[in-house]
Symmetry: C2
Subunit: 437 residues, 2 copies
Amino acid sequence: MPRKFGLPRGIHDVTPEEMAKRLWVLNKIMKVARLYGFQMVEPATIEHLETLEAKSGPDIKNEIYCFKDKAGRDLGLRFDLTVGMTRMIASRYDLPEPIKLYAIGGMWRYDEPQYGRYRYFYQWDAEIYGSSSPLADAEVISLGIDILEEMGLKDFEVKINNRKFMDAFLKNLGLNEEKSLATMRIIDKLRKKPKNEIEVQLIEVGLNESLINKVMELVSLNGKPEKILSQIPKEALKTEESLKTCNELNELFSYLNSLNKNEKCVLDFSVVRGLDYYDGIVFEAYDKGGEDIGAIFGGGRFDKLCKIYGRDVPATGVAGGIERLMISMERNGLFPNLPFQPETFIAVASSEVKNKALEVAASLRKAGFSCDFDLKNKSLKQQLEYANSMGIPIVIIIGIKELLNNQVTIKEMKTRKEFKANINDIPQVLTKILKGN
Amino acid sequence: MPRKFGLPRGIHDVTPEEMAKRLWVLNKIMKVARLYGFQMVEPATIEHLETLEAKSGPDIKNEIYCFKDKAGRDLGLRFDLTVGMTRMIASRYDLPEPIKLYAIGGMWRYDEPQYGRYRYFYQWDAEIYGSSSPLADAEVISLGIDILEEMGLKDFEVKINNRKFMDAFLKNLGLNEEKSLATMRIIDKLRKKPKNEIEVQLIEVGLNESLINKVMELVSLNGKPEKILSQIPKEALKTEESLKTCNELNELFSYLNSLNKNEKCVLDFSVVRGLDYYDGIVFEAYDKGGEDIGAIFGGGRFDKLCKIYGRDVPATGVAGGIERLMISMERNGLFPNLPFQPETFIAVASSEVKNKALEVAASLRKAGFSCDFDLKNKSLKQQLEYANSMGIPIVIIIGIKELLNNQVTIKEMKTRKEFKANINDIPQVLTKILKGN
């Protein structure tokens, strides 16, 4: 028995069945991104390690694939598409602002593999560089919603917050920047951990009971902005910064309303996005029936990050995992029947007509019909069995006798109906059958 | 001045301009592969190093990106798509033979970067597993030709040979397997090195002048098979193996003829494909005006390779580099105008109508028109300048006065023609203008 070769942990192949679904999803994402005027790029797959560290700090090394190349340089595989796009625009001063870019591609993370989470996975990611207006945030949120709706998803919700408002709130409570960031990272886990565990962690950061109560009171507020904005404790709105940043949320929701997206959006003060580089509007979208797979897209404003990469522009963006999205769609039964087998198979009744089968195949392909033929000198019976096992709907049988009359036999595999047709009429006959299906 | 981050040597980003062209190319490849009944897959990007070595020997380490993961396992980035697909089919006994798979994807090689050659590049690759018939070779060659023709390329040629015929010929001259393989690797460089350098190398392998003359005589034969097959020296056809393998070529060309591909195909005994795992029909396609970029596709039979990966089936395949193909197309001026900017820009005459602009944008996108709007509180003049610099053909201007009459101003940027239209008629007006262009 020859040996088999396995795959590294967390790495997988995409099968034909999966690929048919993935292409369907990617095409729809590309269609929507185009409607929004985003331009597609592909940032490099390999970066200097320092480029990756510039976004996420030196600890990122532990979470990614990194290595020395043969010249001793430290490199790493990209762990998102934001770093690359942000590095790209830093040297493209020819592009007028705002710059709307998007990418769809694979990335690598050295995480512990779990359900819906691989070490190599696909994301779509759209960014707007050069606008500090909440209009830009509304635009990327709207894009995310239209992508999900294009997939057929209906029962989802985008939870929106403003990191700046949270900053002002925590500062107001007397927390310094370090404690504030630590608190944000703990709140970010609210959906994954029990409440008492969260509270214990907040105590460890140094918050007393009264502070914890105030934090927990605010982050438990969520719902339609009309309602929630009136429920914010007065204490949380007493500084100018609080009012200003709360107003940004107001403005954002008014834009989302004009974009006809308000129905899908809620204000949720527990959404803070754990990552340190977010510094404004943040948001996460959840499939209501499947929050266990995590956010199906998320994003927010990262005004300070671009400067690190050499161009001081405000920015906001949205990204979502393709594998997760596909799980959500699978659960909701949203994939149509996506045939990946050819439409026709040209069978030969005897080997003398093999070359004629090739001629027919070439002409059908030229006419736009996908077709396959026997490559293994199979008997007619075996050819029909093969076509059947492949799920090919139509078999065209070429026999010597029929050929003398310029005819072939056309067999519909589902109904087992057989009939003769003139060899020159095959395209018309196929059009009729395939459209009738 | 903030610092900029560069890219690792030989690694590049794909810009919006390039991406528009690449997508055009990839869609056409996918279309043709579908017509041939190939099913798309994506093999893993990271493999165990031993999986990669199984194809190409331990020296492959020097030519690829390889590294230890955090658990100390030796891994490598894929250097082609054949290894992955071959590993995949070894465990898919549910798929009936022949199995026709294809993939399009990026791969990495630690080569010295040169014109048209990067350390990360894209290939398309189609393989047929389970058929030893020259019909399968004809099928992959035909696929390659149809892909090039779909791109609009006309002046190209597929040079075809049979490694088994060359083996028989060299064995006949008294060369053992090692010398025979070494000779093949030297002949493979005929298109890149001067003839005398080739001859010196053949002397180094141990061939005497008489043998070298016989080898050079055979490998200089190339042209239409009808002509070339009659010019083969009698000595080269004196064994049964020679006759049999020469006949395989004959059979192949008869199939290519039936597939209507003979016009593009020649027999060329200098094409041997240097790689050791090829063991039958081999071929390379060249853009006649641009042989300097190398073969635009190539491939052949690798019957013995699959067994190494755990499934003893014959196989043949074809692969081509996307970047090279795009250079060839660029040189031949084959790319159509591929607009990647949105079709419309919604400009506002004053900020009071901003929300109205969003409503119009949302409705136009819903109707299938790509559109963008101001995200930076620009003046109307600046908005028009931005739309112009982006090459957006149509601007829809929203002003308060017009809005009272339910009207907007539509401006064609090329002709600077302006006219008023009812806000509800915009989709029809756009259809007319965009189709007229």
